[in-house]
Amino acid sequence: MIEVTINGEKRAFKTGLSIADLLVELQMNTRAIAIEINQQILPRDRHHQTRIVSGDVLEIVTLVGGG
């Protein structure tokens, strides 16, 4: 298992997961999200090839109402 921080919350996952796997694990609707790993944007076309490693800090964001 490895520990990563997602949206400020520490979570444990099995080793070797890709970002795409992680999103499935989190049951997340991926239509309108963006992902940042360690403050760098991870483009959508790299979700499959990028694996999370221990200590990664992820932000998963979406759109909400705003002015």
């Binding site: 997602i6 949206n7 400020g8 919350e9 979570r11 989190l26 049951q27 997340m28 609707n29 239509r31 309108a32 999200i33 963006a34 992902i35 940042e36 403050q39 944007i41 483009p43 959508r44 932000e59 998963i60 964001v61 979406t62 759109l63 909400v64 109402g65 705003g66 002015g67």
Partner: protein, 300 residues
């Protein structure tokens, strides 16, 4: 954008005619960066009591551009309703904001996230951002130093940066010089409903940013409370109005959205019409010749 015929029909009539001798039927389009709009009202999508009321308000306002915020996805209950089911990204150009960011670095990250999401949606708004870098949580006034820094970074990354700014003319000039696509001074604090407080500073900003560059878009962002505020802003010569709370928190948001739509149109038409100069004394509308009464001779 407006490929569907029904949408074209729906938006018709919002652009104000600007007939001139050369172009008698010219439509007065609002151009900002790569975008062109018939409507000069940009509406926020926050603070409505329900998504349904928001959707109806956007329609009543006849807006074509909607601001939207970027926030953390909920990890445990992400199955809730999505705002995009009510703000159709096929219909509206979205303008992602960096609301809630208090330093340049965070605002830049937020802008990149917004772009990434909008790219995924194939929305034309992926190329721009409403840049907010706040300096104080009570006034929600921008931090001009951080704002300028973030503007420079985002411009260098190819963003069209729409800068939420204070009504300081020097800051406005610095933002334009840094490459901002539009400077958007607040009429008064966000959500305050106080309207256009400092007309003089705003007029200076307009004069300065448009000197030798009359098409440079300057938008009033925040503070308006009702339709007359919007009309005042447009009469001053602003290219558009961006607002949210005044509609979302009105007793009847849908009706207020319509009022804002007409306020923008009335103000724009009045601006284009060239108002009469102000005078201390009266000027009779009816002819003075042939009056059957004698004029009292009290004044000299």
């Amino acid at each position: 954008m407006l490929t569907d015929q029904s949408q074209k029909t729906e938006f018709r009539g919002d652009a104000v005619g600007n007939p001139t001798a050369e172009k008698p039927n010219a439509i007065d389009l609002f151009r900002v960066g790569n975008h062109k709009f018939q409507s000069r009202l940009i509406l926020g999508s926050g603070k409505y009591d329900s998504f349904e009321i928001m959707k109806e308000s956007l329609e009543a306002a006849s807006t074509q551009c909607v601001t939207i915020a970027v926030r953390r996805e909920r990890l445990h209950d992400s199955s809730g309703r999505n705002i995009l089911d009510f703000v159709d990204p096929e219909r509206y150009i979205l303008l992602p904001n960096t609301a809630g960011c208090y330093d340049a670095d965070t605002a830049v990250r937020c802008a990149r996230m917004g772009r990434e999401i909008l790219k995924g949606l194939e929305n034309p708004g992926a190329d721009w951002v409403k840049l907010e870098v706040l300096g104080d949580s009570r006034t929600l006034l921008p931090d001009p130093i951080e704002l300028l820094k973030a503007t420079e970074t985002l411009v260098s990354e190819g963003f069209q940066v729409m800068c939420y700014s204070s009504d300081d003319p020097i800051v406005a000039r610095r933002l334009k010089d840094a490459g901002a696509t539009s400077v958007m001074p607040a009429g008064s604090p966000i959500g305050s409903g106080l309207g256009v407080i400092n007309q003089n500073s705003l007029q200076i900003i307009l004069d300065d940013l448009k000197r030798g560059d009359p098409d440079y878009p300057v938008i009033i962002d925040a503070g308006v409370g009702t339709a007359s505020d919007v009309a005042v802003a447009m009469e001053l010569g602003f290219d558009a109005v961006l607002l949210n709370t005044a509609v979302a928190k009105a007793e009847d948001p849908v009706k207020m959205a319509r009022a804002m739509r007409f306020g923008v149109q009335a103000g724009r038409l009045a601006y284009l019409s060239g108002r009469i100069p102000k005078s201390r004394y009266a000027s009779a509308s009816s002819p003075e010749v042939g009056v059957i009464s004698k004029r009292p001779n009290r004044s000299k």
